[in-house]
């Protein structure tokens, strides 16, 4: 760890993802821990862990669109749904393997994202947020009504992946697939933000008129960020569908979009690391609240119903408090903690 700021003297140092050997070792340990975890935790806990890893993919995707390119989207839930249904259709109804279904889900969702991103040619900020809200409701309606493809209100039962003769049947084996895909996609996103494209995204976010003057084709990059973001959403949705082995329309409502938006805001807008923190936080929070409320409900049976209603309110309240007291997100707080230790006795 450097003690008095970052002094990078070569280009190689500047473009490194892991700045120091210490960070590299830490990441190594994290990797080993993640690989070992399925053997340490069981049942529901493993399932929650898997949901976190899937949510990381979706959150990184949304952060590319909202955090890096500055386009607020309230439709992430529906895009997850497009991915889930595409993969479900390909694997369950066409009989193709999982390994075709997931990338196809990404591509189809990217296409859908580009179509619903067209309004971004003329809209931004609030108007775009509400246009994406419209796409959420339109897609939700399509999920419910396009019965030959989506199974309507019955949903679709989807298989788990298999390779050769081996079926990734258990949560444990499926977790590894999810983990590898997530790791690759997070690394890709981190690197994407360091390329010409990523910097163009950020320029469009910071000041789109200036960006245009500098020769950035803003429409191209806005649509591109919709495409990349939706690709991530599609893959996350497909993985989610296969993890539940069942896809139905109520899994992809507006509340999912809100949870994803909350993830990236609480984690930190425009930060890949922040998306990860946010995903962990927002998946664990409802589970924790459920534990607390069921405990309350069993110890005071009279208030069981109230406790369930309270859960949602506490969830909303925590989001509000977070935004008021930690507006820059967890990633920023983590940076402050690191800075505090670095500068320790001279923190001012």
């Amino acid at each position: 760890m450097q003690y008095c700021g970052d002094f990078r003297t070569t280009y190689e140092k500047d473009v490194k993802i892991f700045e120091t050997p210490f960070v590299k070792i830490c990441m190594g340990f994290l990797g080993v821990a993640l690989l070992a975890l399925p053997f340490l935790v069981k049942g529901e806990y493993l399932w929650i862990l898997m949901q976190i890893v899937i949510a990381v993919i979706g959150a990184v995707g949304l952060n590319i669109l909202t955090g890096f390119t500055g386009q607020i989207s309230l439709g992430q839930g529906a895009f997850l749904g497009v991915g889930a249904y595409t993969s479900a259709f390909i694997t369950a109804k066409m009989g193709l393997p999982f390994w075709v279904g997931v990338p196809a889900a990404g591509c189809v969702t990217a296409l859908a994202g580009m179509i619903f991103g067209i309004p971004s040619l003329r809209l931004k900020g609030l108007y775009l947020a509400i246009a994406t809200l419209a796409s959420q409701f339109i897609l939700e309606w399509v999920f419910l009504r396009w019965e030959p493809v989506t199974g309507g209100s019955y949903g679709i039962v989807v298989p788990r992946p298999s390779l050769g003769g081996y079926v990734f049947d258990s949560d444990r084996s499926y977790f590894y697939i999810v983990l590898v895909i997530a790791a690759v996609m997070v690394l890709f996103a981190t690197n994407l933000m360091r390329t010409r494209t990523g910097r163009a995204f950020m320029a469009v976010r910071d000041h789109y008129i200036s960006a245009e003057i500098m020769g950035i084709n803003i429409f191209k990059y806005r649509i591109l960020s919709f495409a990349v973001s939706s690709f991530y959403a599609g893959v996350a949705g497909a993985l989610y569908g296969h993890s539940l082995r069942f896809v139905s329309s109520e899994q992809f409502g507006i509340s999912v979009s809100i949870v994803y938006l909350a993830m990236i805001i609480i984690g930190g807008l425009g930060s890949i690391l922040g998306s990860i923190y946010g995903a962990v936080f927002m998946i664990l929070l409802p589970k924790l609240l459920t534990v607390v409320t069921t405990q309350l409900g069993t110890s005071f049976p009279g208030i069981a119903e109230v406790a369930i209603a309270l859960e949602q309110g506490v969830f909303g309240g925590i989001i509000v408090l977070f935004l008021i007291f930690e507006p820059d997100g967890l990633a920023h707080r983590w940076k402050m903690i690191k800075a505090y230790w670095k500068l320790y006795p001279f923190s001012y």
């Binding site: 108007y127 796409s135 008021i324």
Partner: protein, 298 residues
């Protein structure tokens, strides 16, 4: 499709649309003065409906008093929200403000479920006499007529308020440029509080009207979601736009639904029609019919 049926669709659309207009009005007032998009607008409506129910049915207060108490409650609620939640968010990016109002909406929804449960509650006695009126040969319930008249009344009152009253002019000035307004001696903080209060009161009255017709339960906040297309259609910062947007969305969604269920075998178009209209409008006129076009320079 007969003319009779068509007329019926249009008239019921007008009535529902007028309530959309009232809620959209609340939405526009907040946006106009504070540049905050309030995703909890539907919840304010829901709270209004429930509070009026509590006074009217649970405590047996006469309707006039109950309505006044509801308005008072909405005012206090709005002031609390503005002071505790929105004021610390001044200067934060738009997305954080959207999120904070979404969080607020979850809190309000949960509070309502905790206090009143999730069953459908009915206003007893009904506020307006139960009678049928013939309008152009179509039977219309008197409740609907009252609803329509009251919503229009609210819209007219607030158009006049904004145009001619001192507070209204101050609110428009604040909307135009907060710093300049402040230096002209307008208390921007007071204006923010005032706009939240007016908005909550208007939505609360809307809630009472809807509650009286359909009964109330904890899905009433859906009205808030329908209001987005209405507001955007008219333009986010135009009162006239809110009024027309609400009515247009109300009528169009009914016509869409009627047409689709008659000619195609498609039910439930009503839920998405406003959003399809919204997307189309946004492509053609990005700032809505009457919205201010923002001109940006580097």
């Amino acid at each position: 499709m007969t003319t009779q049926y068509l007329l019926q669709l249009v008239i019921s659309g007008l009535v529902v649309g007028s309530i959309y207009s009232a809620v959209a009005l609340g939405f526009v007032i907040i946006y106009k003065a504070t540049r905050v998009v309030n995703f909890a607008q539907g919840e304010l409506l829901m709270v209004g409906a429930y509070v009026c129910y509590a006074f009217l049915v649970q405590m047996h207060v006469p309707f006039g008093v109950a309505l006044l108490l509801t308005i008072l409650f909405s005012m206090v609620l709005a002031m609390t929200i503005e002071r505790l939640i929105l004021r610390p968010m001044i200067g934060e990016p738009i997305i954080s403000i959207i999120m904070v109002t979404i969080g607020l909406s979850l809190v309000l929804r949960s509070a309502v479920s905790v206090v009143w449960g999730t069953d459908i509650l009915v206003y007893e006695p009904k506020l307006f006499p139960q009678a049928m009126l013939m309008v152009l040969g179509v039977p219309v319930s008197l409740e609907f007529v009252w609803c329509f008249v009251l919503s229009i009344f609210l819209l007219v009152v607030f158009s006049i308020f904004f145009k001619y009253s001192k507070a209204g002019v101050a609110m428009r000035a604040t909307a135009f440029n907060q710093q300049v307004a402040q230096s002209m001696g307008i208390s921007v903080k007071k204006i923010f509080a005032l706009s939240w209060i007016i908005s909550a009161v208007v939505s609360g009255i809307g809630g009472v009207l809807i509650g009286n017709i359909n009964g109330i339960n904890n899905t009433l906040y859906h009205f808030g979601l329908k209001v987005f297309p209405a507001t955007i259609l008219g333009g986010l910062d135009s009162i006239l736009g809110a009024a027309l947007g609400g009515v247009i969305i109300g009528v169009l969604e009914n016509l869409f639904d009627g047409a689709c269920s008659t000619y195609f075998d498609l039910a439930g178009v009503k839920e998405v029609a406003p959003y399809v209209i919204l997307v189309v409008i946004l492509m053609i006129k990005p700032y809505g019919l009457f919205g201010t076009k923002e001109i940006e320079r580097v």
